[in-house]
């Protein structure tokens, strides 16, 4: 039994991650690490762990967990410590459950795209702490940035596709007062977008971009801020400086080889790649002073022409995560193909810049002397990716290859504990663990593989998220949760920082076509445009009958006049591919061309009341004059 199990795990590793899989296989078979990993995870479920994560029915969780939903285009919300999934917030994809992408407003927001790839949620910050106002998420696929309002947990703005940024992976990470959201190109391309250049000219004609998306401090409204032209590396992950590093932004990059083709080989030849350090205060100033060129309609700084804005810090091979310590003193970079994590000292970085302690340059961008800026190399283990922090001066680094988390001390740089996870951890999220005031207590490991940890659901398996208690000296596994594809990063915020509304108050509804009295419900015709003002209330639609002619352009403004929590009504129109859900006090606009003659029922799709089933009506579409009979009707 034990042997069979081992084999399955070995196989899984090889098939899922070619190079690293082989690496881990060699390493694991060479030493006795493997059985230890398994023993640890199997014995983790104890009564103590059960009690620590148990939230009795009716009781509330202490923290919210916001995880990215990856290529589902959604954001998931769970409670901590229960790990119960509570809600899904649609962002970049159609989501009939809430009618997202079916009404005019959200359709317009989604534009031509029906999916996105949500990677890194970022809660808005004030003075380096989460302020509970907004959650920003990036779209790696279509280069967009979205803002979710945490008052109602709804997507309010989608910015993009952002010009010049290509493969928006290096975001959304906010600066300490949400001045900017970081953005960067994972895939360098010729600029502006739409430009053609042969792939052979990659090293010279393709460009990377790092950028800051500006945020209006009052409304959260985002706009394209500054952009910086970079060498054609692959910019991966970022973090904003704070405290002594405030005013700086950091991004890891791989492929400093400027290679193309089979990147797993061609981009892994050098021993070091770079962390790009950007003085965003200086970038802001340069833009104000007119030191930019317009590319793709955006003000872009070329560091060749504007010095003292960007520097490159050598980092161990193919780095993934870069994370700034809570006090802002250290920049932690992890090279995923090595077994160390490097802590860079911000003070030393500033000194090296001042002393021009450079070892070369890339397209005119100075490369800092590694030995001059490095504070320590921490021997964390195999495949370090991301680092989070607690309230006691410890750092936690995820180890993809090793399937473990290393706990180490800032300052002494010693690893004090390690816990196996199941399996192949990517990001990890500690409670407020990337702010200036981490809370400690809980950490969630976001694992890529979950096989064997749940009853089988066939070849397509869920991701696994494991709750770990980090309050004591030793990390303790508390709970296994499984999610839809695919959490990348997550953030954990104290629940009492959020004060979501329960209904949209009638007086706050600013929709110009909202109506509140059945007396105002009506169907109006203006040539071939039919406008309906409709009310939904338990358990009827008013009007319940809409008569139009084939080919009419129909607009329905549907107001849910309820003022009670959870009293949603849906509007599904049969065979017209429309389903809108309207929250209490909300008005949504539905538009379509009545191009299917006949009688089409519509009904309430979101169960509302004892007579929900009776909540229905008819769209009657009179056919155009028939060619054969010359008759209408």
């Amino acid at each position: 039994m034990e042997n069979v199990r081992k084999k399955i795990i070995f196989k899984g590793m090889i098939s899922t991650f070619g190079l690293i899989g082989i690496l881990s296989l060699t390493l694991f078979s060479g030493c006795s690490r493997k059985p230890e990993v398994e023993k640890g995870t199997e014995k983790s479920s104890t009564i103590g762990a059960a009690v620590a994560s148990y939230i009795a029915p009716g009781d509330m969780d202490e923290y919210y967990l916001f995880y990215s939903g990856g290529h589902s285009g959604n954001v998931f919300v769970a409670g901590i410590p229960s790990m119960r999934h509570i809600a899904t917030i649609p962002v970049f994809s159609l989501y009939p459950s809430t009618g997202y992408g079916f009404d005019q407003e959200t359709r317009k927001m989604l534009g031509e795209f029906t999916w996105g790839d949500v990677h890194h949620p970022s809660l808005s910050e004030t003075n380096g702490n989460y302020d509970g106002r907004w959650l920003f998420v990036n779209d790696n696929a279509n280069n967009r940035m979205a803002r979710i309002d945490l008052r109602d947990f709804k997507t309010k703005q989608i910015l993009g596709p952002i010009p010049n940024v290509s493969g928006y992976h290096g975001g959304a990470f906010v600066t300490p007062n949400t001045e900017y959201i970081l953005a960067a190109s994972r895939f360098s391309i010729p600029l502006p977008k739409g430009t053609y250049a042969p792939i052979e000219q990659y090293a010279t004609d393709y460009k990377g971009v790092v950028a800051g998306i500006a945020v209006d401090p009052k409304t959260g409204e985002m706009s394209v801020g500054w952009q910086i032209l970079m060498p054609p590396f692959d910019y991966d992950l970022g973090d904003a400086g704070k405290g002594p590093s405030y005013g700086w932004a950091f991004w890891t990059s791989y492929n400093s080889e400027r290679a193309t083709g089979k990147l797993e080989v061609t981009s892994t030849q050098k021993d070091r790649d770079y962390i790009a350090a950007v003085n965003w205060k200086a970038a802001e100033q340069a833009i104000q002073n007119g030191k930019f060129k317009m590319i793709g309609g955006v003000k872009v700084i070329d560091p060749k022409e504007v010095p003292d804005i960007v520097y490159l810090i050598p980092c161990s091979k193919s780095p993934h995560g870069v994370d700034v310590s809570p006090d802002g003193k250290y920049i932690i970079g992890s090279g995923k193909l090595q077994s160390i994590t490097t802590a860079f000292n911000m003070e030393k970085i500033l000194t090296a810049i001042q002393n021009k302690d450079f070892t070369g340059n890339e397209d005119g961008i100075p490369v800092l002397n590694y030995d001059a800026v490095k504070e320590a190399e921490v021997n964390v283990g195999l495949g370090p990716l991301h680092t989070q922090f607690d309230d006691k001066g410890y750092a936690y680094t995820s180890l993809y290859v090793e399937s473990a988390i290393a706990k180490w001390k800032l300052g002494t740089w010693e690893v004090v504990d390690k816990i196996p996870v199941s399996y192949n951890i990517g990001h990890l999220a500690a409670a407020e663990g990337d702010t200036i005031n981490p809370k400690g207590k809980y950490l969630v490991a976001l694992n890529k593989l979950s096989h064997g940890r749940h009853i089988s659901v066939g070849p397509s398996q869920p991701e696994s998220s494991q709750l770990i208690d980090i309050s004591g000296e030793k990390m303790k596994l508390l709970y296994d949760a499984f999610t839809e594809p695919e959490p990348h990063y997550a953030q954990i915020i104290k629940a009492d920082k959020l004060k979501p509304i329960e209904v949209y108050k009638k007086e706050d509804n600013k929709h110009p076509e909202a109506i509140w009295d059945v007396k105002d419900a009506k169907v109006e015709r203006n040539e071939n445009h039919v406008t309906v003002k409709m009310i939904a209330v338990r358990s009827s639609f008013e009007p319940w009958k809409i008569e139009v002619n084939e080919g009419d352009h129909v607009t329905i403004h549907l107001t849910n006049i309820e003022q009670t929590t959870d009293m949603l009504h849906g509007f599904g129109l049969n065979e017209y591919n429309i389903n809108v859900v309207v929250d209490p006090g909300e008005t949504k606009t539905i538009e379509f061309v009545a191009n299917k003659p006949g009688v089409h029922p519509f009904y309430c799709t979101n169960f509302c009341s004892a007579l929900h089933q009776e909540m229905q009506g008819y769209l009657l579409v009179k056919p155009k004059q028939s060619a054969s009979t010359g008759m209408i009707r």
Partner: protein
């Protein structure tokens, strides 16, 4: 409105010919003397406090009904003020609207402020009582105080009856076409009652207590000045 003193004096003159009843005459004399009593300072001060008690009746509800059900663990609240009707507003919810929405299933008329004539005359009457009370302090006669007190008792009883009748009408005039047919019912006035899936609690609100306090203070001030009758 009839003046009690006039009424009693009329009785007095009507009885006058029957001089045989010695006891009765003495009693009437005593009654007359009682009504003519001046109000002592203590009494006037207490009446002033009573008048002040009328002011919060414009701020607090007269009656409060709370409807509990599984899906409303915090209860839906209905507040009846002297001048209006309001529901609770927890977390932006509108309880009055919710109660009306739920009631439409059993064919109950929606509770609309405009349907209640009480919201016109009750505050008006309380205003009148405020003036009558001040007048009593100024005129300082027992007869004025007794008039005000008796009138107020009548007003209170009438208002209570009116409220009872309202509830009765709402619970009995149900739309026969309602989707859910329930037998006519009387909502609770004081205490609790199970109505379908709701447990309804109904109790007087702070304003009612102020009105009771008002009445009690008037009675106390009658006693305080009235006990000096013996000394005559």
């Amino acid at each position: 409105m009839s003046n009690l003193q006039d009424f009693i004096s009329r009785q007095e003159s009507a009885i006058q010919p029957l001089e045989g009843k010695f006891d009765m005459e003495k009693w009437l004399e005593k009654a007359n003397a009682f009504f003519d009593l001046p109000l002592r300072l203590q009494s006037r001060l207490i009446i002033l406090i009573a008048a002040v008690l009328l002011i919060p009746t414009f701020i607090f509800p007269l009656w409060n009904m709370t409807l509990y059900a599984n899906q409303f663990p915090d209860g839906l609240n209905l507040y009846i003020y002297s001048y209006t009707l309001d529901g609770g507003h927890p977390e932006g919810r509108n309880d009055l609207q919710e109660i009306n929405t739920l009631n439409h299933y059993i064919g109950m008329r929606p509770l609309l402020e405009s349907d209640f004539s009480e919201f016109g005359w009750i505050p008006l009457m309380i205003g009148i009582f405020f003036i009558l009370t001040l007048r009593t302090i100024v005129l300082g006669k027992m007869s004025n105080l007794v008039d005000t007190t008796v009138l107020f008792m009548y007003f209170s009883l009438f208002s209570f009856w009116s409220f009872y009748n309202r509830l009765y009408q709402y619970g009995h005039n149900l739309d026969p076409k309602a989707p859910v047919k329930v037998p006519p019912f009387m909502p609770p006035i004081i205490g609790s009652k199970q109505l379908a899936n709701f447990t309804v609690y109904s109790y007087p609100g702070p304003a009612s207590y102020f009105l009771v306090g008002f009445l009690l203070l008037l009675l106390v001030s009658i006693l305080l000045s009235g006990r000096h009758l013996k000394k005559l």
